[in-house]
């Protein structure tokens, strides 16, 4: 409650911090692995790392858009599972139906996003409940309709899952392209500008003539589309669709990546570049744990701790020192005997 000391510190940008942290974690993990006689940067490890980034990357890039709008999407995990099944069953092993499968999966994803967006903006249900409820609905459908892996992905499409250029998987490149598209959206288009405005202050956005409902719905549609692409990637890797993908925890991981990437959970500030950094951090940790043969359940514990810690750290940073009014700061006042430390 007190407006603390008036001292101005130089603040590193969030994105710089993310990538510094990434480098730091790479170094520490590399040393740890080297001590155990391994090499974190061996080609196999690097391409595992990059493969890991792609799946979460798609989801997290989409999540960034909704979080920037001060919303959130907890249904992404279920959408990924749903789209893997829709893609795989529509393709049904027929190479000529690949595009049909892709279109069908993405259309369904967009539909889910549309409904999410409308429930939040038109029915004014808070985003957490709306997307949680939507996730449960999709889960109910998946559990009832699909008993196990279903559908068959033709070999031609499976290349999306496996092909590599050097150590770099195609899927990672596609993910980076999607991230680049989101970057352009946010920094070069009105829709992107308006997402920042909607998340920053809904009233200001509305008073400035921004169509806030439409912006929010667009963000949710794009978020679900990104999850849809992730679902197709799953289908390409497994060769079939699989409902159990929703238990991967992609919803929380994506939020963790977004928050780690310096995007405010309460919207209005952040970047896709940061999110990609956050995804990379999680992928490096994951790879290092694998190489070090850490118990997989330990990763769950760590994920929980990381997400709480990241949000707690950023909760401290988000109070803007400049926006506080201070009349008698540490500098100005004559009597500074009992000033708070």
């Amino acid at each position: 409650m007190t407006a603390g000391t008036g001292a101005r510190r130089y603040h590193l940008g969030s994105t710089e911090i993310v990538y510094l942290a990434l480098v730091g974690i790479l170094v520490v993990a590399g040393v740890l692995v080297a001590v155990r006689g391994g090499n974190l940067f061996a080609q196999g490890n690097v391409s595992y790392m990059l493969t890991q980034t792609s799946l979460l990357g798609f989801v997290a890039v989409g999540q960034t858009l909704v979080v920037l709008c001060r919303s959130l999407d907890l249904s992404v995990g279920y959408v990924v599972a749903l789209c893997s099944l829709i893609g795989a069953t529509t393709m049904a092993g027929d190479p000529s139906r690949v595009w049909l499968g892709v279109v069908a999966a993405l259309a369904v994803a967009a539909g889910v996003g549309l409904v999410n967006g409308l429930i939040i903006s038109a029915l004014r249900v808070n985003a957490f409940i709306a997307t949680l409820g939507m996730g449960l609905i999709v889960k109910g459908f998946l559990d009832t309709r699909f008993k196990g892996p279903e559908g068959e992905v033709p070999f031609a499409f499976q290349t999306f899952g496996y092909t590599r250029i050097g150590p770099v998987p195609v899927s990672t490149i596609v993910m980076l392209l999607v991230a680049a598209a989101a970057f352009v959206l946010l920094t070069r288009t009105r829709a992107g500008y308006h997402m920042f405005a909607v998340g920053g202050n809904l009233d200001v956005a509305r008073l400035s003539g921004v169509r806030t409902g439409r912006t929010l719905v667009l963000a949710h549609v794009l978020c679900s589309l990104c999850a849809g692409v992730a679902g197709l990637l799953i289908a390409a890797r497994f060769g079939t669709g699989n409902a159990l993908v929703y238990s991967y925890g992609l919803d929380l991981d994506s939020i963790a990546a977004v928050v780690l990437g310096g995007t405010l959970l309460f919207g209005g500030r952040g970047s896709v570049i940061g999110t990609v950094g956050g995804v990379a951090i999680l992928a490096v940790l994951d790879t290092a744990f694998n190489v070090l043969d850490v118990n997989p359940f330990f990763k769950d514990v760590l994920r929980g701790v990381i997400i709480i810690a990241a949000v707690a750290l950023y909760a401290r940073r988000q109070i803007d020192p400049a926006s506080r009014r201070v009349r008698f700061g540490a500098k100005g006042s004559a009597s500074r005997g009992g000033d708070v430390a």
Binding site: I119, R124, G133, F141, L252, D300, L302
Partner: protein, 335 residues
């Protein structure tokens, strides 16, 4: 906005009373969910008349008791303006801990129960302090806690739960009074749930309860009235974890130990509370409404069983209920 005033003005004439009742039933509050519960129960009885027999009703009560207990715990947290998503995995963790530590040994029942109590309170304390003092939104805190518990328990047990619960541990969840097989009996679980509800009703009439609701309604005004809002909310999380521990004892006794124990229970509890008309964001709703919400949800699932719908449809139903209930409340607030 009309309920408060119209209840005063509409008294008297029969038509006024009818309108009053219609408003009550449509208001989205506790009367609405009670009506829903009655309708669902009637439909079940129409489909399957044997459901109305005391033995079936008691079986239903036994099955619903853990959810009632969890809903009451969740009620404390929600009415103070927060969420607790960690209760499901806490229930799972507690059952697994109990089984592994006592491993069927009767002598260890009480020490292990005491340990579970401490563990539950510890989880609640961490949830509460991280949310209130570190200012992490509670859904993130408790989702994180859910992951931590989930992972930690599997890490500890090596993936699959081991050990067994002692017989005396399972009495509360499984047995009833009088304890004669095949005869009518009042399940202990029902008694536990009633005690919990009674305790919660009393607590909400205490200064603590009123301050807690006020903090959910307007945290600033409550803090400016001298209440330590952070400690009020932390206590709500403690109560939630405590009752999750109680629910774990009932569920462990009722269903035994499996890897899936507790999964999805947090959403069930939240759905029940929301269905009871308790406002998300805090400040509105009663314990009894939360209990009725839990019974209505359990009754709905029973109805689906009667209709031979697959149990996998449950999450979808919960999803629809949770969205509709919150949207309905939002609609009410706008007018």
């Amino acid at each position: 906005m009309t309920t408060g005033l119209s209840q005063e003005t509409a008294q008297g004439t029969a038509r006024g009373t009818a309108r009053q009742w219609r408003e009550r039933l449509l208001s989205g509050g506790s009367w609405t969910v009670l009506a829903l519960l009655v309708v669902v129960l009637v439909v079940i009885v129409v489909i399957n008349p044997s459901f109305a027999e005391p033995v079936s009703l008691m079986a239903f009560a036994k099955k619903a008791a853990p959810l009632v207990v969890l809903a009451v715990g969740q009620y404390f947290v929600i009415v103070s303006g927060e969420f607790d998503l960690s209760v499901g995995s806490l229930v799972g963790a507690q059952v697994v801990i109990a089984a592994r530590l006592m491993d069927g040994d009767e002598a260890l029942t009480w020490p292990v129960l005491a340990l579970m109590l401490v563990f539950g309170l510890l989880v609640g304390l961490v949830n509460g302090l991280v949310t209130t003092l570190l200012r992490v939104p509670s859904f993130i805190t408790t989702l994180g806690m859910m992951l931590v518990l989930f992972g930690a328990i599997r890490l500890w047990t090596g993936g699959a739960p081991t050990g067994a619960l002692s017989e005396s541990f399972r009495v509360l969840g499984r047995k009833g009074f009088p304890d004669v097989p095949g005869q009518f009996q009042v399940p202990y679980a029902l008694l536990v749930a009633l005690v919990v509800v009674g305790f919660a009703v009393l607590l909400m009439r205490r200064p603590f309860g009123r301050s807690l609701v006020a903090a959910g309604d307007n945290a600033v005004a409550t803090a400016y009235s001298g209440a330590p809002v952070w400690w009020l909310r932390t206590r709500a999380f403690l109560l939630s974890s405590l009752l999750a521990t109680v629910a774990a004892v009932l569920i462990g006794g009722f269903a035994g130990v499996t890897a899936q124990v507790g999964q999805g229970l947090e959403f069930m509890a939240i759905t029940a509370v929301v269905l009871g008309g308790v406002a998300l964001g805090g400040g509105r709703g009663t314990v009894v409404a939360a209990m009725v919400g839990a019974l209505a949800l359990e009754a709905l699932f029973t109805l689906f069983n009667q209709l031979a719908l697959p149990s996998t449809i449950r999450p979808a139903v919960q999803g629809v209920i949770i969205i509709v209930a919150v949207a309905y409340a939002a609609r009410r607030r706008r007018t």
